[in-house]
Amino acid sequence: MLSWFTHHFLAPKSFYKTSWFLLPWLMGAFIIFFVYGLIAGLFIAPADYQQGDGFRIIYVHVPSAFTAMAIYLVMAICALLTLVWRIKIAAICMACSAEIGAWFTLLALVTGSIWGKPMWGTWWIWDARLTSVLILLFLYLGFIALRSVINDISNRDRASSIIALVGAINLPIIHYSVIWWNTLHQGPSLMQFAAPSIAPAMLHPLVSMIIAFLLFYAIILILRMQNEILIREIKTEWVKRVIAL
């Protein structure tokens, strides 16, 4: 059963074919969640009583930070599948996720910085969350840099799997040590981002935007993976037929 699953369903060729059927559904769902999140977040949700309309950047910042973390988790799981079970599609998924994850991380940093200007009066503060996101960006860039210097595909996949795993083991440690460092140096924090409780009218658009961002990742990931599969299997008959079409 398991071997059927990995060899047929997860074979690059069948993934290429089945993923075409998934795409319209993902895109439809993405549009619904994105449009609802955008309209509800920008117009329906009440303005924050302290930050006014400035808080609305939360609908981009939090989803992109969340998606950036989620993508690293996906990469770590794929890394384990690559190293232990040598599942080809997992390596492809890991390879294609990295750049998307790095862009989301950068987006989270930039939006966090823009949000910081009205809140703190400065573009950058060594806030615990922003700092962990910055280190996440370094982890992504290290991963991408390592991949760019290794020529052989299977070596590239396995070497980058190891660094992804090491990063994933370290990420929680880094995260908590940064939070701890922040409280040590800043005293009682003035800059807690998300309030512990949030009004439902503000929360629903946020959840909707998070789902929309994850769906967007899934769509871009599938498109990139299809591309990567064609490149990797360029010599096989089925790819030649696909390209000829």
Partner: protein, 211 residues
């Protein structure tokens, strides 16, 4: 006679370029496979694949009827690999290098055996010299001395005769014959060995193998 090492339909690619293709070998006890080929024809890569360092993209390698990648630890204990580099630490002396090697291969070697091997390879006078002062030929002798330290059924040697003088080559041939007489197998990439010793040859580059 059973086949000890069997290679079937081996294929290896590097950056979309096929380096090795259709390699088929069956080796029995006391046989030598000599690998020929121009520079860059993939001899060293093939040897590294057979030694289990690299996995081929297609095909199988079986040692005693089981894929080597399913029994990598036990398989690698039974082989001795000598690459183009000699695998010696330049700042250790000849004697220390052999001690370190015997510790790494988990063989219980006493100083008597060590000295015998040094004598045999004519390295006794150099035993306290750091290996960075050795000439290329002397280094090659040292790495051949490692082969003699403890026996193993499979030798994988990459250009073992490079830089050796005729005396060194004679030593090597004697050691090789002794290895064969104890049912050993050797896979050697070289241009220098005369064909009378080898029982099989594999020409790389032409992508054909003949017995």
């Amino acid at each position: 006679m059973t086949t000890q090492l069997r290679i079937d339909q081996l294929q290896f690619e590097r950056q979309d370029e096929i380096i090795l293709q259709q390699i088929n070998v069956a080796l029995h006890a006391s046989e030598i496979l000599q690998i020929w080929g121009a520079n860059g024809s993939g001899k060293s890569t093939l040897l590294r694949i057979i030694a289990g360092f690299i996995e081929p993209h297609a095909g199988s390698i079986q040692w005693r009827n089981q894929s080597i990648f399913c029994q990598l630890d036990t398989y690698q204990q039974q082989l001795r690999y000598l690459g183009h580099q000699n695998g010696v630490k330049p700042s250790l002396t000849v004697y220390e290098n052999l001690c370190l090697y015997s510790a790494l291969t988990a063989s219980r070697i006493n100083s008597r055996i060590l000295n015998q091997v040094l004598d045999h390879m004519n390295l006794q006078s150099l035993s306290q010299t750091p290996t960075r002062y050795l000439s290329a030929g002397q280094l090659r002798r040292l790495s051949l001395a490692k082969l003699l330290l403890n026996p193993a059924p499979l030798w994988i040697l990459d250009e073992p005769l490079t830089a050796l003088d005729s005396e060194g080559q004679d030593f090597f041939k004697a050691a090789l014959l002794n290895h064969l007489s104890t049912e050993g197998i050797a896979i050697i990439a070289t241009h220098h060995l005369d064909l009378t010793l080898s029982t099989q040859t594999l020409h790389l580059g032409t992508l054909s193998s003949h017995v």
